[in-house]
Point group: C2
Chain length 247, copies 2
DNA sequence: CGTAATGTTGACTTCAGTCAAAGGATGTGG
DNA sequence: CCACATCCTTTGACTGAAGTCAACATTACG
C-alpha cells in the first residue's frame, strides 16, 4: 500500500491537470471529464471500473429524490438530467441541467439535497458513494478534479442567483438561450436543441410557463431568435440577444 | 520530498476528518475550521503560518472586486463580509455573507468572479493563492476540507436559488431571519444582531429596501418578531416564523 | 384520426417596485 | 449642549411586470 501510495503521489506531481476527454470505464459507460490524465492511468482505472454500474432512465424518470439516503454518486454519460428542489405546495425550482460528463451526488450530507430527474433518455454511471470516497484518498488528483468541478458549479450558482434575484423575464430568457447555445458551440444561424419543456425552463428561470412563452414570442417578434419548432431555437441576432441578456 | 510525501500520506489515513476548531496561525490571525486535525499537525502548521498575512478592513472597504486577478485566498477571522455581483446598470445581488471561519477566494478561474466588501470591521488572513494551492498537493486532508466547504456552499446556493426563484417577500425575509438566528444558536426571545443594512438584506433577498422594510413591519405587527433597534431582531413566535418561511 | 398533453395568447389581478415625503439616528461644529 | 446636515429607514400613494385564470392552438401519440 505504501509503495502504491508513493507511486501515486509521484504520478500526481507529474500529472497535467486539464481533463483528457472520454475514457471507457464499463461496457456502455464513458466518463467524460471525470478521469484526470495521469492520476487515473490504465492500471488504476479498474479500481473505478470494478465498482461502476450502468443505469438507464426514461424521460421523466427520477434518479433520486431530495431526502433519499445518498448511497451513490453518478456521472452522466448520455442524455440530460434536471436537478430541482420542491416546496410543500408544489412550487419547484430547477437548480441546474446536467449534460454528459457532469458529475452528481457529491454531498457532505447523508441525504441528497435535491431531486434528479431525466429530461430525455439518459444513461448514468453509478458508483457506491463510500467506495468512491475512499478512492479520493488514494487519488488526490481525482479529488482535485472534483474540487474544480465544485468551484465552477458554485460560480454558475452565483450567476444564477444574480439572474433570479435581479434580472427581468426578458433578460433571464436571453441569458438562458445564450448559455445553451454556448454549451453547444452553436454558430449563429444554427438550430440549437432545447430538450426541456417550457415548464422546465420556467422552473429554472423562476417564471411561469405563460411568461416564458410570451417572452419567447417577444424575442422572436424582435428578430433576435427564430423558433423552427418548440424544441429548437436559432440565434438570429447574437449582438441583440446579448444586449437583451443585460450582462 | 518522497519521504515527506509518504509520511504525509500516512498522516492523512490516520486523520480524523471533522474540524478541530480554532488554531492560531499568525499573531492576530486564527483560522477557525480551516485546519483539519491530523493533516496539519503542529510541525506542519508553520507552512501555512509562514505564508500568511493579516489584513484589516473598515466597514464598506472592498477586499477585492469581481474581475480582479485572483492572487490571494483568504480566511475570515473577525467581522463579516458580503460577496456580491454587479450588473452594468448598478443592480446588485449579494450571493452570501461570510462569518469568522469562512474561506474565500477559491476560484478555478484566474480572476475573482464576485466582489467582497466588509460589512463591519473585519480581519482576514491572506495566503498567496499559488503557494496555498501547492499546499493542497502536500496535505490532501486540507483539500478534502475545501471540497467539503465547497459542497456545503453549493447546497446553500441551491437553497438560495429556491428562495430567489419561488418564494414571496414574506417567505424570503422569514427564511433569512431564521437562518441568521440559527447561525447564532439564538434561543427564542434572545436579541440577534443583524449587522447588515436594509439595502444589503434587500440585495441578498432579491427585493427593494422598501419591500424589506414593509415586510419587517408586517412580521412585527403579526408578533412573529420584535425589533428592539434596526440592527437587532428577536424571534417572538418561532413556529409562526417557520410557518411564514414556507419550508 | 381523435384524444391528451403541451404551448400560446388574451384579459384581468396582484405583489412587489417606483416615486415621494416624513421620521429617526448619528455626527459635526458653533 | 444644541442646531443642522446627512444618512438610513419607514410609510404612503401609485405603477407596472409578471402571475393567474381562461380560451384556444398545436403537437404528440395511440
Amino acid at each position: 500500500l505504501e509503495i502504491e501510495t508513493q507511486l501515486m503521489s509521484i504520478d500526481v506531481k507529474m500529472a497535467p491537470l486539464p481533463y483528457c476527454g472520454t475514457r471507457v470505464l464499463c461496457d456502455e459507460c464513458t466518463v467524460r471529464g471525470l478521469a484526470v490524465c495521469g492520476s487515473l492511468s490504465d492500471t488504476e482505472l479498474p479500481d473505478l471500473a470494478a465498482m461502476a454500474s450502468t443505469k438507464r432512465l426514461e424521460p421523466g424518470q427520477t434518479l433520486f429524490h431530495e431526502g433519499d439516503t445518498a448511497q451513490d454518486v453518478y456521472t452522466l454519460t448520455h442524455g440530460i438530467l434536471k436537478l430541482y428542489k420542491l416546496m410543500g405546495d408544489g412550487r419547484r425550482q430547477i437548480t441546474g441541467f446536467l449534460l454528459p460528463g457532469d458529475f452528481l451526488g457529491l454531498a457532505y450530507s447523508q441525504v441528497y439535497v435535491y431531486s434528479a430527474e431525466a429530461v430525455a433518455q439518459t444513461t448514468v454511471c453509478r458508483f457506491p458513494r463510500r467506495q468512491f470516497m475512499r478512492l479520493l484518498d488514494r487519488y488526490p488528483a481525482l479529488e482535485k478534479d472534483l474540487l474544480g468541478r465544485a468551484s465552477s458549479e458554485l460560480a454558475a450558482a452565483q450567476d444564477q442567483m444574480l439572474l433570479l434575484g435581479r434580472k427581468t423575464a426578458r433578460e433571464r430568457l436571453a441569458t438562458f438561450l445564450e448559455k445553451v447555445a454556448m454549451r453547444h458551440d452553436a454558430r449563429p444561424g444554427q438550430a440549437v436543441p432545447l430538450p426541456m419543456s417550457r415548464t422546465d425552463i420556467a422552473d429554472y428561470l423562476g417564471l411561469t410557463i405563460e411568461t416564458v412563452s410570451r417572452t419567447f414570442s417577444a424575442l422572436k417578434a424582435e428578430r433576435l431568435i427564430a423558433l423552427p419548432d418548440k424544441s429548437h431555437f436559432v440565434i438570429v441576432a447574437s449582438d441583440g440577444l446579448n444586449e437583451a441578456a443585460g450582462e
